[in-house]
């Protein structure tokens, strides 16, 4: 009799071969940074890096769920811009109002997406593209195309700048909690497994009697909410609502998810590897900043993008090689 409870490293590596690469790449880049730059491993760099990337991680987490159903959410960047303005407007009432308010606004956009996709049966790509334009326009309208300064007197900026328990920035704590919660949802709850089943085959899921629509609604609401949260981080981290921000964020999020080994067609995915993917993407910029600081070579912002793209390509190429080899070796 087979014993599936015993831990089998070969089996584990084979099942997770898609996401193993991202961890290796991340570790390699961290080691590279540690060896090459003096302050790379400083607590300050560590915490400010995570703090800045918290919003990207949040968005990638929501995107991961959407992609696992075989869908896509292009609206996240604009929604984050919109909710950063909402958060800024609500900041005088304190974090306890601004945070839920902005997240709810994000969930609202998610609800529009869900409605269009599930009830009106519009393909996700088109539905969320429309929402992306609407949210962008909406952000410009409510802000008058100006950055909206937050109320520095309230406790709102603590979120992006203060420390939890005097140790970590709040944003990091919140995102870590969110990661754990979503990991649990994916691996251990019915709705998480339904998400994966839908991505594997929506027809089959329907015929199996799974609650397909409920799970699809969940992922778009979640993605909207995560974008809302990212908006809060944006506003509190920079002290202002930023209606013009968020351009291209959806693509970074998709890249994080894919680098993390999640199938773009759905059905398979990993939460921790998605976080690793988002960190990897951010870390490339961080390393390039340090490199520029060294003064030997200097990369312009444009070149940084090119380098990041090339790096991503290399990781994904490596990933597909690893998967192909694993499948060959282990049958």
């Amino acid at each position: 009799m087979l014993d599936e409870t015993a831990f089998d490293l070969r089996k584990y590596l084979r099942r997770n071969s898609a996401s193993v690469t991202v961890w290796i790449a991340l570790l390699a880049l961290i080691l590279f940074g540690l060896m090459r730059y003096d302050n790379f491993g400083s607590a300050y760099n560590f915490s400010s890096f995570l703090n800045y990337n918290a919003m990207f991680i949040a968005i990638a987490l929501g995107m991961c769920f959407v992609i696992m159903t075989g869908g896509i959410d292009l609206s996240v960047g604009s929604v984050a811009a919109f909710t950063s303005v909402v958060a800024a407007y609500l900041s005088p009432y304190g974090i306890q109002v601004a945070l839920p308010g902005a997240v709810l606004a994000g969930v609202g956009f998610g609800a529009i997406n869900a409605f269009c996709i599930i009830i009106l049966r519009i393909p996700p790509f088109i539905a969320t593209l429309a929402t992306m334009l609407a949210a962008k326009g909406g952000a410009l309208v409510i802000s008058g195309a100006q950055t909206i300064s937050v109320d520095w007197g309230s406790n709102f900026t603590k979120l992006g700048m203060g420390q939890a328990f005097g140790l970590f920035p709040w944003a990091i704590v919140i995102v870590a909690g969110l990661t754990l919660a979503l990991w649990l949802v994916l691996e251990r709850t019915t709705i998480g497994r339904t998400v994966l089943a839908i991505g594997g085959s929506e027809d089959a899921s329907n015929l199996m009697g799974l609650k397909v629509n409920r799970a699809k609604a969940f992922v778009y609401l979640l993605s909207g909410g995560c974008a809302g949260l990212a908006g809060v981080f944006l506003a509190s981290g920079f002290g202002a609502g930023q209606p013009l921000e968020g351009i291209g964020w959806e693509l970074s999020a998709i890249a994080s998810v894919v680098v993390g080994g999640t199938l773009l067609t759905g059905g398979m995915g990993s939460i921790p590897a998605t976080v690793a993917g988002a960190l990897l993407l951010g870390l490339v910029f961080n390393v390039l900043n340090f490199e520029n600081g060294q003064g030997t070579i200097s990369f312009s912002a444009y070149w940084q993008m090119v380098i990041r793209g090339g790096f991503l390509f290399a990781v994904i190429l490596l990933q597909s090689r690893v998967i192909a080899r694993q499948q060959k070796v282990l049958g």
Binding site: L184, T189, T190, R193, T194, A204, M208, G209, G267, G331
Partner: protein, 511 residues
């Protein structure tokens, strides 16, 4: 006594084309009820109307005397109807366990899925079918037969009052079918009803109580299985007189009259990995060579090796006298090899394309000159195959997903036949095809090889192999262990050859 299910006067059309008209079906509690009919007769549609996949246009459905309110598959499950749909509806990317317990996961604290318990349950139900596999593996890693058994296991584990099986045995071999019958009998003992759709009429006599026959969307008769004959059922299905049919005979392979030509294909101790360790085969022009064996004996793997899907590790393959394995399917096709896979859903049909497009996909290069497709010629070829194989479609531009299962299979077969490969590998070519059509396909394959082509035939149906193949290569655990030559091979001889090696007493080797 109230019938468990009673459907009456059911009407259903698709885009104005009727699929069901005045169809009636009654299933008593605890009975095993067969539903038969030709490809496209409306069996699957009838089931889908009952389980809420389709809305009916007219008619009544009662469950235990009460009007049914089922309008989605979920509600059907909740009302105690568990269904194995014909197009195996599972999720290959997800684990075996998930495919069995999804929707009914055991939980801790009311919301956390208990995987340990779930894996145990999955293993337990599979044990009833004599399957011992790693249930945490993705389902797609297993053979079609295992997948079919998993679908059955899921349905059986749902604690249903009615289990519907739409062609459950289409990819099972004889021993697996026996196991399934055992499970069906057990269900019956527990008072569970079973609605059983099959083209294997002999099976019905072993497990079914009553049989309802459909023809052209109507139910034409319901009989007690004890009081009827196979001939009578076929007569009902075809709407023909049974004496006429008796005179015609039922199978039409009547093998082993081939005039052998040159050798077109040779495999010499080919190995591709643990599942195919030693495979020998010689195929001449004008010949059908069968591959016989049980589940996991390496038949499909052998076909994959010949088609260049799996690279070989040792041994030699010779095509048209030239040594060398095709480097991949594309190369195989260029070298005149065709391969009809057993998994039509995953590897075969392109659901949204039409019957015509699906059929001529592989033929396009030959139909086009300077990038221009000769549409008139295309339609001509397609129409010829539709007529020859008796494909039931509204018209050739109908999306293939709208065809019944057996008719989709015929389109795929036509796709390969149209390209006229020298060597055609057919993995279960008549799966899900009705008795009449099976016969037509078999005689079509025979006339194909008579034109000088060679066919490698894989079939779990012993009858098809024994009657259809000129020679049968018997496979066991990844090795070709014996060769039987027609005429003179009977089902008994084949079964004994298989069993022999099962017991491990045989060591004859075709080196």
């Amino acid at each position: 006594m109230n019938a468990l299910v009673s459907m009456s006067g059911i009407e259903k059309s698709f885009a104005g084309v009727p699929a069901l008209s005045q169809a009636n079906l009654e299933i008593a509690p605890g009975e095993v009820h067969a539903l038969i009919g030709q490809n496209g007769a409306g069996k699957s549609t009838m089931i889908k109307v009952l389980t809420g996949v389709y809305d009916r246009d007219a008619g009544d459905v009662h469950l235990a005397g009460v009007p049914s309110r089922i309008s989605t598959p979920r509600e059907a499950q909740e009302s105690g109807i568990a269904t194995i749909y014909q197009e195996l509806n599972l999720v290959p990317l997800r684990s075996v366990t998930e495919n069995i317990i999804m929707g009914y996961e055991p939980k801790r604290l009311g919301f956390l899925v208990d995987w340990r318990e779930g894996n145990m349950r999955a293993r337990e139900v599979l044990m009833r079918f004599g399957i011992d596999i790693d249930v945490t593996e993705p389902l797609g890693n297993f053979s079609t037969a295992i997948q079919q058994l998993v679908a059955i296991a899921r349905a059986v584990s749902l604690d249903a009052k009615l289990v519907i099986m739409d062609e459950p045995t289409s990819s099972l071999d004889a021993s697996e079918v026996e196991v399934l019958f055992g499970v069906v009998r057990e269900l019956k003992k527990q008072g569970v009803s079973v609605l059983y759709v099959s083209h294997f009429l002999d099976e019905l006599f072993q497990i079914c109580d009553r049989v309802t026959t459909m023809r052209d969307g109507r139910t034409v008769s319901t009989r007690n299985v004890q009081d009827t004959t196979k001939l009578e059922m076929i007569a009902d299905m075809l709407g023909r007189n049974k004496d006429e049919i008796a005179a015609d005979g039922l199978t039409d392979f009547a093998g082993a009259k081939a005039k052998k030509g040159d050798i077109v294909l040779r495999a010499d101790s080919v190995s591709t990995g643990p599942r195919l360790t030693h495979f020998d085969l010689t195929l001449h022009r004008g010949e059908i060579v069968g591959l016989g064996g049980l589940l996991g004996s390496g038949r499909t793997e052998a076909a994959r090796a010949l088609f260049g899907v799996d690279g070989k590790r040792s041994g030699a393959i010779e095509l048209h006298g030239v040594v060398g394995q095709p480097s991949g399917p594309g190369d195989a096709i260029v070298n005149g090899v065709g391969f009809l896979t057993e998994d039509r859903k995953a590897e075969g049909i392109i659901p949204d394309m039409s019957v015509r497009e699906n059929m001529t996909l592989a033929l396009l290069p030959k139909l086009a000159s300077r990038g221009q497709i000769d549409f008139a010629r295309e339609r001509e070829i397609v129409q010829a195959f539709i007529d020859d194989l008796g494909i039931k479609a509204a018209h050739m531009d109908q999306p293939i997903r709208e065809l019944s299962g057996g008719n989709q299979q015929k389109v795929l077969l036509a796709r390969w036949l149209a390209t006229q490969p020298d060597i055609l590998i057919l993995d279960e070519p008549t799966r899900g095809v009705d008795v009449g059509a099976k016969r037509e396909i078999q005689s079509f394959i025979r006339s194909y090889v008579e034109k000088g082509f060679g066919v490698v035939l894989i079939s779990s149906e012993f009858e098809e192999l024994v009657e259809g193949a000129d020679r049968i290569v018997v496979m066991h655990e990844g090795r070709s262990v014996k060769e039987l030559t027609n005429p003179g091979v009977t089902e008994n001889i084949l079964v004994r050859a298989l069993a022999h090696h099962e017991e491990g007493t045989g060591s004859w080797n075709a080196q």
